[in-house]
């Protein structure tokens, strides 16, 4: 009992204000950019930035729920949650709401719920739970079984199609493998094999891609391949970022975004909007914020008191890193355009709530790192 009380007081100490400050700083930048690009849009109902504030509020609740609720208990719910999310993903395929050729949403009243976003968090729970519990001897238990766990979700997500979430799934799996699943020699062997197998894998993947996905990749290789069509996003985004130059065009000054040359400026391309308006100075500031947030998260992982905590932390970190890097990379023309939102900045209810919930889980790990008994 005494120990418990001590723990209670420590829990407060371990609630990291810097961490929360970074999260809300990035969220604020996101809302500002969403406001800038959508403020002159008419339309009924709440404006985008106001809806985003609602998502942030709900996200904050999710954050605290995931913070307070012991992560060991949460992890125990991993398999049921996974089954539920698989069912939802299956439901989306048949009954979901379509938008721009993809069927990803379940309508709930005026809102739309995107299960694939939440599937990422559930996958992190599933894999962390598996690795922390299962005996890990041999390839079967280290690689194949968790791989089988990944497959049904991955399959359903790619079927939507949602290439971005699918890649996130693979990234989370790969991160877990990297951390616990394999010895370093094995990692080397796998890298070697993947390089050798890459052409065949590419063939297979290319064949299974949708037309628009293929065209996006073509457009990535050569943005002038179809500047008015598939290469349009990539080209306009690069123009927006480049035109920001050192100090940017100022708030509302981004002509690329204000004049709608840049499509989806409030969702996947919110970074381009920000980069155009705030320039290289703003972009560096944002990168520093993200790196600081991830650095603090890595500290949490490094000091996690048990493997489950560390694995959960690693999963969340890798998912965040992956999204940030791929999103910025695609807007800057380094990667093909895959629909991955920028965490904490892109408009979107499911992504915002899911990201904040993940961060709550991450802080949960830190909060309990000194409690030995639970």
């Amino acid at each position: 009992m005494m120990i418990d009380r001590v723990m209670e007081s420590r829990e407060f100490d371990n609630f990291d204000v810097r961490f929360l400050g970074l999260v809300f700083a990035i969220l604020a930048i996101g809302v500002l950019s969403i406001y800038s690009v959508t403020h002159d849009q008419g339309g009924s109902g709440l404006p985008f930035f106001a809806k985003q504030l609602v998502w942030i509020f709900l996200g904050t609740i999710a954050f605290f729920v995931m913070l307070i609720w012991d992560y060991h208990r949460i992890a125990r719910l991993a398999y049921p949650a996974y089954i539920l999310i698989i069912l939802l993903l299956a439901f989306v395929l048949f009954e979901g709401k379509s938008s721009r050729g993809a069927q990803r949403w379940i309508p709930i009243g005026p809102f739309a719920f995107q299960p694939s976003e939440f599937a990422k968090l559930v996958l992190i729970l599933v894999l962390a739970h598996y690795y922390s519990k299962a005996p890990r001897v041999g390839w079967l238990q280290r690689v194949v079984v968790p791989g089988l766990l990944v497959l049904p979700g991955l399959f359903l997500i790619l079927k939507q199609p949602d290439l971005g979430s699918g890649l996130s799934f693979l990234a989370i799996y790969a991160a877990m493998l990297l951390m616990v699943g394999m010895r370093s020699q094995a990692i080397g062997v796998i890298l070697l094999f993947s390089l050798m197998l890459f052409p065949f894998a590419w063939e297979m993947m290319w064949g299974s891609l949708h037309d628009y996905q293929r065209q996006r990749i073509m457009a990535f290789v050569d943005p002038n391949y179809d500047p008015g069509g598939k290469g349009y996003h990539a080209l306009q985004s690069r123009i927006a970022i480049g035109a920001g130059e050192l100090t940017g065009k100022g708030l509302y000054g981004g002509t690329q975004s204000q004049l709608k040359f840049l499509p989806e400026g409030h969702t996947d391309f919110v970074f381009s909007v920000f980069a155009e308006e705030w320039g290289f100075v703003g972009v560096l500031t944002l990168l520093v914020l993200f790196v600081a947030l991830i650095w603090l998260s890595l500290e949490i992982a490094a000091r996690a008191k048990d493997e489950l905590g560390a694995l959960l932390a690693v999963g969340v970190i890798c998912m965040l890193c992956f999204c940030v890097v791929v999103n910025i990379g695609m807007t800057a023309g380094m990667f093909p355009i895959v629909g991955i939102p920028l965490p904490l900045m892109s408009y979107g209810g499911s992504a915002t709530i899911m990201t904040m919930a993940s961060l709550g889980l991450l802080l949960n790990v830190k909060r309990r790192r000194l409690s030995l008994f639970y």
């Binding site: 123009i239 996690a304 690693v314």
Partner: protein
Amino acid sequence: MALVSSLESDLGELQRRLVILRVGLLLVVALLGLRLWHLQIREGPYYRDLSENNRTRSVILEPARGLIYDRHGVLLANNVPSFSLYVSLEDVKDRDALVDQLTQLIGLDPALVRKKLAVRGAKQIPRKVKDRLTLREATLIESHRLDLPGVMIQVESQRNYPNGATAGHVLGYVGEVSAEQLEKPEFAELHQGSIVGQYGIEKFYDRAVRGKAGQKSVEVDALGHEKRTVVVDQPQAGDDLYLTIDARLQKVAEDLLGQESGAIVAMDPTSGDILAMASRPGFDPNVLSRELTGKQWIEIVQDEGRPLNNRASQGQYPPGSTFKVMMAAAALESKTVSPSSSVHCNGGYQFGRRLYRDWKAGGHGAVDLRKAIVHSCDVYFYTVGQRMGIDTMAFFGRQFGLGEETGVELPSERVGIMPSTEWKQKAKNEQWLPGETISASIGQGYVTVTPLQMASLIGTVANDGVTFRPRLVRSIMDRETGQLQELPAVEKRKLHIKPEYLKVIQEALADVVTEGTATKAKSTLVTIAGKTGTAQTAALRTGPEKDIPKKFRDHAWFVAFAPVDHPKIAVAVLAEHMGHGGSAAAPLAKDLIETYVKFNTPGASVEQHPAAKAGT
């Protein structure tokens, strides 16, 4: 404990591996930073240019064409607002779909629209696809704007001629600059869709009247919708023209010709001011300034009446006996005859084996110069012509401006023919035949003139031998400065003919009206002097005039000036296929001159030339 330690070692291994993540993260972020530095700092200016081009479209602002007034300030040409449909190709993804949409919305000729959109040139400059949209059409387009990216409606000024067909040939018409024109340096600053004068004064003074196009830079969004205007380079309106034409007199002249083909030119011999220049059949410049369909255009061009032909400056006719005015001056000055020396006319002139008849069977008897003019004796002029020879005739003919441009400000003025031995050698590579001199003496054979030349000729005689260059514009108002620039009358030349000889001719011409071939031109209002002419069109002349099909009948000429003492107006009338000048043309000239006198009698309400109002 073993369990704990094993867990701890696994945890330790995991946490050691976090280094890979740290290093990887820093590496990747460094790469991102580098990429962004490259985009924003190194290539920043390049992308900024791209974004500028992305958002701005140049829209050309058509200038308002200068207004055209008559000599008293009556409006002859102005501009009325009109809607034009433009398409900015840069914003059009599917041209064929757009054409279909437009065709469905408003009645368009799809082939024509496609052709207009296909014209090569900068994609950034919007193409004019249709002008003179009705309000309904413009509203329809506007209401479908969201579905029609790149389509713009511009309010422009459209040329308008409030008096319809009146003075159509003088004013000319406007139209889109053609591809061939655009190649020429004088149209260098223009672009496809620019409106330029294509005929008449509109064409001749196009440079002044056209003005200068402006440009606005319009910020557009990704769908090509106008957001705001960024830079405005205001268009400069063209200069206003004040013509020498008197619109009322012009109307009268055109009405006098009525349905007949022909031309009337009235000018002030003391300045060269053309008071009226009528050519029938005519056209309504409003119709021609609009966009015509190919069929409409072909109809106009193939019209047998050739309505587009300005018969006053482009019609070339044998002058017939009006030529004798020039012949008389040439005969006296070249000392071929004296005013008093006479020739016997027995109704024909024998040359070689051929007899050249006089128009009057039986002849005029003894004929001196005065009588020869008054009664238009052919034999007298056969004789004189034969004596002086074709080259002397040509020398004096040129002095009167025959065979050369009068210099009036109209495009494609024709010069007629003042034949000479040299001319025939050049033109036909043949020797001049003596018999041809005899035909030329009475204004037949190779001699051809334009009505404008004949007006100038009779004006020169009236003005004691001084020729003023005929002109249609007396002043130009600079829209920029508001200054009215009076154009000076240009004295073209002074005839080398003794004043007393001209006097003799003037008196004889006065007698033509009082007692000669043009008594039908006799007026109670004013003294008129003139000379009739009948220009043969066909060699076959058998039977009475009324039996001859109209198209083979002769042209009727009358040239005149008035008042005889101080001539203020010189007139040339040509009525095609109307027979004798005395009966067909002389009354028209009389009516016109009388109208002119009435208009210019003190007390008559004459609108003021704005130049007078402005006090300049």
